[in-house]
């Protein structure tokens, strides 16, 4: 009977296990997790800290007991995998023990980046990614009288941290090296509106400046910025970004010295298989197809992780998998060809974000840093904005009218993938009925 290993039990890992079982895999599934709690969603941590969610609310798939019961898995919690021996499909654990599997899924996720600050996040300095991060911040907010905070990183996490702090009447300073809010999703013009809105709420915004170093003095932490200034606050929260946990694969010893291909994340093909047959990766630790650029990239979204996990699980469970593996992965590092046409394939994604904070909703689809003509329209439903070249839409920003975001994203993807010549009258009507300006519909349609 086959034996599979799943490293990491986040969204991708969970969905892979679920998918393996749903697709008829009856062998052993060993799950390795370096923590003792169930699958947590990093996106929920700020809601837990704000008090909108109870602690167990951060674990959307329920308890580990439920996981064992539902999917008959063998759990190895608090167990760190030191590396993966790809040629043997062998896991080497931190205690030196090892185990051989038929297939391995690396779903190790990503971790928050703590930049070289001269010190690890501790004391009055916080991160916001893991359950442990959330516990720490919640504790300090509950136990101390915090009146000021600096948040580094004008990202989706940074804004949610800012919101929760501001709602507790804490005066917040947001700091980012970039020239705008949400630099990876937001056009400059959209950012201007959002920044004005934020400063109107009393949030201090310091852009185009990075953190040089940090000094902690008792109940006070001073953040020295690259522009020479200094912000002294009660606490500092770092929301600078994440890095894929690729080290497991990076340390992998591969037959014929061909390592598992890694860029910023572990590179996978459309079946979520790495360049090494039998070793799969899914979720925030891997790079998959960005259909806008045609190359792979990390698009670390919950929905992507779920979909990638589902596909990885299904492909791992499939019998034809082994026999239809390509002999050698493409030398250029591009994703390999289909394992088997009957298997589900990850269709790829485009960067997309929806962020709701205060009473604002921001939607970003595509790359705001591409060039092209601008279209922007305001009406009582909100704002829609696009970068396009007449034929292709590169980026869309929406403010307010969140309900159309899925339809808009879907049509944008259809257009990029060449299925977008036709818009159903029903959808056109629904967009009009949802307050989308006619010119934007025509742009999306043509």
């Amino acid at each position: 009977m086959d034996k599979y290993a799943v490293i990491g039990i986040g969204c991708a890992g969970y969905n892979a296990v679920k998918s393996m079982r749903e697709n008829g895999f009856i062998g052993e599934i060993h799950i390795y997790s370096d923590v003792s709690h169930p699958s947590a969603n990093p996106m929920l941590t700020t809601y837990y800290v704000s008090g909108r969610l109870p602690r167990e609310g951060m674990f959307p798939f329920g308890s580990l007991e439920k996981l064992v019961k539902d999917y008959n898995v063998i759990l190895h919690t608090d167990t760190r995998v030191r590396h993966v021996n790809a040629s043997e499909k062998q896991l080497v654990l931190e205690d030196g023990s090892s185990e051989v599997f038929d297939k391995i899924l690396i779903a190790a996720g990503a971790r928050a980046v703590s930049p070289p600050l001269g010190q690890k996040p501790k004391g009055r300095c916080f991160l916001m990614r893991s359950v442990e991060d959330a516990d720490r911040l919640k504790q300090v907010l509950e136990q101390e009288n915090i009146s000021s905070a600096a948040v580094v990183g004008a990202s989706m996490t940074g804004i949610k941290v800012t919101e929760l702090l501001a709602e507790k009447n804490i005066s917040v300073t947001m700091i980012d090296m970039a020239d705008r809010l949400f630099p990876l999703a937001c056009m400059k013009e959209t950012a201007d509106i959002l920044e004005k809105d934020l400063t109107g709420r009393g949030i201090r915004l310091l852009l185009r400046t990075g953190v040089d170093h940090v000094e902690e003095n008792g109940n006070d932490i001073s953040t020295f910025l690259t522009d020479g200034s200094c912000v002294s606050t009660d606490i500092l929260v770092l929301c600078i970004g994440t890095r894929a946990n690729t080290e497991l694969a990076a340390n992998t010893e591969v037959l014929e010295k061909e390592p598992v291909l890694i860029n910023r994340g572990i590179v996978v093909d459309e079946h979520m298989q790495t360049s090494v047959p039998g070793i799969f990766a899914a979720g925030d630790c891997c790079e998959a197809l960005n259909i806008q650029t045609g190359s792979t990239m990390i698009i670390g979204l919950w929905a992507n992780a779920a979909e990638q996990g589902r596909i990885a699980g299904c492909c791992m469970a499939a019998d034809c998998n082994e026999n239809s593996l390509p002999d050698t992965p493409p030398a250029d590092g591009s994703p390999s060809s289909a394992l088997c046409s009957a298997l589900p394939a990850y269709k790829g994604s485009i960067p997309n974000n929806i962020t709701h904070y205060f009473d604002q909703t921001f939607v970003g689809i595509g790359d705001p840093n591409l060039t092209g003509e601008r279209f922007t329209a305001f009406n009582k439903s909100g704002m829609v904005s696009a970068i396009h070249d007449g034929r292709n839409i590169k980026c869309i920003n929406i403010l307010g009218n969140y309900r159309i975001s899925g339809m808009v994203k879907d049509y944008l993807i259809k257009r990029i993938t060449g299925q977008g010549a036709f818009m159903a009258v029903a959808d056109m009507g629904l967009l009009r009925n949802s307050g989308v300006p006619e010119e934007f519909i025509q742009l999306l349609k043509n």
Partner: protein
């Protein structure tokens, strides 16, 4: 959620949830459909509404409005207690009083006014709902008066009168008789009368050809029409005459039927002969080939049913237009045969159900001889002659002018001031009254002008009899207790009768006894039906057998079906009423742009002529009706009252659920006009003319023809009738020209 919570959320009836189903009836719209309701009741409160399965006509479904009955009943603006005015007339300054005190005040005022100025100086008005009409009509008569008037002064009655001048009776289409061609003229039965819409759909499925004629691109045009004609507003009669002309020119008329049953064919033929295809196309904007196809089908497909709806009569030439359309039935022999147009025999409350009651006797037996003309009689003699009622559209004038006599009191049961064209003038007129009482479910503008306001309940809080086609009657029981201190309208009339005309023992006996009086041959059935609270098919039901009416001779003056109305011929010629259904232009003769009037620019609309005038049809810049006119002078033809599915008149506007389907008043405008004027979807626009001005949002849609605007009425913040002059009326019926008003539109800042 727990299982119990899920069941409660689902509102499943049963012991678990404590929800029980009670039967009632929806009374939001006109009596036509009025669908059976299953009200889900928990702890005496409605928690959900559903259609009553198997109900006659509705078959268990509801329309948009009916589905909102729960919120309609529990509206925030419900009047809770009797109220007495303490502030200025027109203000909302009222204090609660007891029912007894309210009755005392009404009795004292009406008795004194009757004594001092005579019973004619008291006006009895009823709007919605219509279930109370027989009672109010009798109350007016028993009181000694004749000035009973209804909302039907502007609704369906003109169409009925038009039918009566032609056929001697009102007319209806025989859908059950499997017509092979149906002509829905100004008919969009999907909206506001869905059972009729389903009838059309069923016929279409069975292979019936359908022609839809409408100035709007409606649901019916889209879903039903094998041929869709979209004439310019107000030119339908020209279209009908052109069709008749083609039929007669080609000898396609049913000469045998005409010879046997029709009066006035030669005069009619002469009249329609001036409408050749070219002229008709020019005036109506309908392509000549489509007019010809319509004539071809109407002449050759048998049986054909040509019918219209109320909107046709809502032009100042509406009465003749309605006649012009219905006359096509005569020349093609499509009358009183299966699948054609049939005579109507009323049973109760303007509904023909196939059995007889003594409603007419009930309403009329206490009427005394007139000593003074009824309201409207001097301006609209045909109306008073044919309906026996006062014409509400002359109320504004008589209140303000006091001629031929002064009016002193108004008893208004469900009055909507916005029904009255040039509403600000009507409000001014109401201020001349010595005494006014108003009843309503919710607070309305009219209440503000009353001295006493009485709260009435909804159909779900009372008991009433409704009759339906196919021999059905339905005697409801209350689904819930009347809310607050509200009572039902007939209870109020009964009490007024006891105080003002106690000698009328029948009226004083209350609703149930009056019903037994009117339905006296079937009291056992009535009692039993009341007990079960379910619709009953009466054993007295006798389906109409087509042909019976013609065989016995139509009840017109000539004893024939009249293309030339002898009744109208009998009206004093000084009124200028044509016994033939002749076309005349219903547009206002001119309109000055009130804004740029001082600029010296000539912005007066072309004063177009009726088509017999020289130059017509040749002057490319000026003649023709409506079409191109707006290009010349910048004005548009506004049609008010085109229905939206979620409201009837003003009744849905303040029901939040219904209002949410279109939160803002919107005017439909054609995309090409909108582009020309720089107006985008949902832009705020001003509509104005020399009568008034309102502000609405633009709805840019091909529903509206170029040069036309469409706006539903009844919004307090954008009252369409503010734009209609008070005297913009049809001389035959007295009906206002709701559907054809000249206005200007511009983008607001």
């Amino acid at each position: 959620m727990t299982e119990q919570e899920l069941l409660l959320r689902a509102k499943l009836p049963g012991a678990d949830t404590g929800i029980e189903i009670k039967h009632s009836v929806c009374d939001i719209c006109t009596p036509g459909p009025q669908c059976g309701i299953n009200a889900y009741i928990k702890d005496g409160e409605i928690v959900k509404i559903e259609g009553m399965p198997g109900f006659p006509g509705s078959g268990g479904v509801l329309c948009t409005k009916g589905a909102a009955n729960r919120q309609y009943v529990y509206r925030k603006e419900r009047i809770k207690t009797p109220l007495k005015r303490v502030g200025e007339r027109g203000s909302r300054d009222f204090v609660p009083i007891s029912w007894d005190e309210a009755y005392d005040i009404i009795e004292e005022n009406l008795s004194n006014i009757r004594k001092q100025y005579g019973p004619e100086s008291v006006v009895w008005f009823t709007g919605y709902t219509k279930w109370i009409r027989p009672w109010l009509r009798r109350l007016c008569h028993s009181f000694g008066g004749h000035n009973y008037m209804t909302e039907s002064s502007t609704c369906f009655r003109a169409g009925r009168m038009a039918n009566e001048t032609i056929f001697g009776r009102d007319a209806r289409g025989d859908v059950m008789g499997a017509p092979h061609l149906m002509v829905g003229w100004g008919s969009n039965p999907f909206i506001n009368a869905y059972p009729m819409g389903r009838g059309f759909v069923k016929s279409k499925e069975a292979g019936t050809k359908i022609i839809i004629v409408d100035v709007r691109h409606t649901q019916a045009a889209e879903k039903l029409a094998d041929l869709f004609l979209q004439p310019n507003i107000g030119t339908d009669a020209v279209l009908a005459h052109a069709i008749a002309n083609i039929i007669i020119q080609n000898g396609w008329q049913d000469q045998e039927f005409i010879d046997s049953y029709v009066h006035g064919f030669d005069d009619y033929r002469k009249m329609v002969s001036q409408y050749d295809l070219e002229t008709a196309e020019k005036i109506t904007g309908v392509p000549a080939r489509d007019i010809f196809t319509a004539a071809d089908w109407i002449a050759h497909i048998k049986p054909t049913q040509i019918g219209t709806n109320n909107g046709i009569a809502h032009h100042t030439n509406g009465f003749n237009t309605h006649r012009a359309i219905m006359c096509l039935n005569l020349i093609t022999g499509n009358y009183d045969k299966p699948g054609t147009t049939l005579p109507v025999y009323d049973t109760f409350c303007d509904m023909g159900s196939g059995f007889d009651t003594h409603e007419e006797e009930f309403m009329e037996e206490t009427r005394t001889p007139k000593t003074l003309p009824q309201i409207g009689e001097e301006r609209f003699p045909l109306w008073n002659l044919m309906t026996g009622d006062a014409q509400a559209m002359d109320l504004t004038r008589q209140l303000l002018e006091g001629t031929p006599y002064k009016l002193h009191a108004l008893c208004a049961f469900g009055m909507n001031t916005m029904m009255f064209p040039e509403t600000p003038l009507f409000r001014k007129a109401l201020k001349t009254l010595d005494f006014m009482m108003a009843t309503d479910l919710v607070w309305t503008d009219a209440c503000s002008y009353a001295d006493i306001v009485l709260p009435v309940c909804s159909s779900l809080e009372r008991s009433e009899v409704k009759c339906y086609p196919g021999g059905f009657f339905y005697y409801t029981n209350p689904a819930i207790e009347p809310l607050y201190e509200s009572r039902n309208d007939v209870e109020i009339m009964t009490e007024l009768a006891r105080r003002l005309c106690p000698e009328d023992k029948v009226l004083c006996s209350g609703y149930h006894e009056c019903i037994k009086y009117m339905f006296r041959e079937m009291t056992d059935e009535i009692e039993k039906g009341h007990e079960t609270g379910l619709p009953v098919r009466s054993s007295h039901f006798r389906p109409y057998i087509p042909g019976t009416y013609l065989k016995n001779g139509p009840s017109t003056p000539s004893g024939k079906l009249e293309l030339y109305s002898e009744l109208i011929a009998g009206i004093d010629p000084s009124y200028g009423l044509d016994p033939l259904p002749s076309f005349y232009n219903a547009d206002r003769k001119s309109c000055k742009n009130p804004v740029s009037a001082d600029s010296g620019a000539d912005n007066t609309c072309i004063d177009y002529n009726d088509i017999s005038s020289p130059g017509c049809g040749t002057n490319s810049s000026g003649c023709g009706i409506n079409s191109n006119l707006y290009n010349d002078c910048g004005s548009f033809t506004l049609m008010t009252g085109a229905r939206l599915p979620h409201t009837i008149h003003s009744r849905g506007h303040k029901v939040p659920w219904l209002r949410s389907l279109r939160p803002d008043p919107m005017v439909d405008i054609n995309p090409s006009d909108a582009t020309r004027l720089g107006i985008a979807q949902e832009d705020r626009v001003r509509l104005f003319n020399d009568t008034g001005e309102i502000s609405v949002l633009a709805n840019v849609t091909e529903v509206a023809n170029k040069g036309d605007l469409h706006l539903i009425h009844g919004y307090e913040e954008a009252n369409a009738t503010d734009l209609i002059p008070w005297d913009h009326t049809d001389p035959y019926s007295g009906f206002p020209g709701y559907k054809q008003v000249r206005v200007f539109i511009e983008k607001a800042d």
